[in-house]
Amino acid sequence: MSAEELDKLFRDKLKDRPVAPSNEAWERLQARLQQAAPQQETPNPFMVPVASQEQKEERGAVRMWYYSAAAAVTMLLGVGLWVNRADIDPLQPSATVATVQETKPAAIQNSAPATTVEPYQTAPSATAQEETFAQQEMKQAQPAQAMAAVSGKAAGQQQTSKRNAVTAPVKVQEEKMTPLKEQAVQEQSLLAATTPANVQESAKTASEPSDLKIVVKLDNTQATASLAQASTTVDHSPNQEEHTSGSGRVLKGILKQVKNLKEGEKVNLEELGITKHTFALETRIGNKKITKTIEL
């Protein structure tokens, strides 16, 4: 069957095939007519709905523009707020770090005496350790030299003082930092200023970028003043404490000790026989480096 035949078949059968609408159709049409009757007074009633439709479309378009504009504004506002918030965020951690730092000095004070105790205990026993420490000190001496150079002090004197300190049995157990502290003490005694010690400390921390490091230097300025001139040996060598970042427990313990010792600080210090101490604290958290010196 060709297409034309098909078309003709359907056309003949269906074009004028009447289908009776329901009886209600006429009633509905009549109701519609009566409703439309008053509207027919308008010259061209058909045009009215068409116009209204167009107006509706226009209104819809305008409305869409408003919506899109509102969406854009909200997006901009949101992004702006978010960006501002991002700017604020870096500030907040620094603030918190500052607070942490404040708490830490106390903790360090607490821990300082403990560390001071340890060297006394170990000092007599470990002579073998002295060698290892000495090696460590030698290794560290080089950065210390560089730091000393940076600080603008005589490096040679510092090195000699360090070696003397290493040889001294009392100081053997002291960690790498101790020679530097001694140097710092000497410098302090000479310059009567705590800043060089801080400089050295900061330099050391910079050289050893650990995740979280708290360096505490305890300088007995009086002793150093007297002893440094007599000989480089110092009774109360500076105490250095290095807390690795993983030691959250250590921090907690320190904090507890801080709380406990806040009231009894003076007593402990007196028991230790330390009349005056200069604590140089340096903490490195992430990229932030915080240094603080406390005199007791």
Partner: protein
């Protein structure tokens, strides 16, 4: 009352003429609407809307050509508008139905109008509209393209697909009838 008098009466807003027009054209026009809309409720809605438009715009009808043709045109337009509202034409037209035309389908003149109507209603709305407009109403592809807001090529392809579907259905029908 002949057609010319009826139109004149309608143009004057005569209620009796309106009733007469309805009685005369409701049946055929309902048939037209049903060819496009399948659903009887929709067809009746379109019929009423179409009559309303006829009543409102009969003043525009100049006594040229067939008044029935004019009414039918209004009905077809109304049906298409409804169809477009109901389901966007392009959606149904985009549907790809792969049906091979079977040439061996014979024109069964014994087939009743109802059976053929059923076949027609089997077509997707888009196919059915194009087939109705071209094969039954006799519009050109250009006119159909304008009426359905499609391209002439789309109209042609839709028509050929509709024809293929119908031929296939006719062939199946023939087989079942033969058995």
């Amino acid at each position: 009352m002949n057609e010319t008098d009826l139109v004149i009466a309608l143009q004057q807003g005569d209620a009796k003429a309106q009733r007469l027009l309805y009685e005369r054209f409701a049946g055929p026009m309902m048939g037209v609407c049903l060819r496009y809309l399948k659903n009887e409720m929709d067809a009746e809605e379109v019929l009423i809307n179409g009559f309303m438009k006829v009543y409102q715009h009969v003043t525009r009808f100049e006594q040229k050509g067939s008044f029935e043709g004019w009414v039918r045109r209004i009905m077809v337009n109304e049906a298409l508008q409804h169809l477009r509202k109901q389901e966007p034409m392009h959606l149904t037209i985009e549907k790809e139905h792969i049906h091979l035309a079977s040439e061996d389908a014979s024109a069964d003149s014994d087939m009743s109008a109802e059976e053929m109507m059923a076949l027609l209603l089997e077509l997707p709305a888009g196919y059915r509209a194009v087939f109705n407009l071209y094969a039954i109403e006799g519009y050109s592809h250009k006119e159909i393209a304008e009426m359905l807001h499609i391209t002439e090529g789309t109209s042609k392809s839709q028509l050929s697909k509709a024809r293929a579907m119908l031929q296939r259905m006719l062939a199946q029908q023939g087989v079942t009838i033969a058995i």
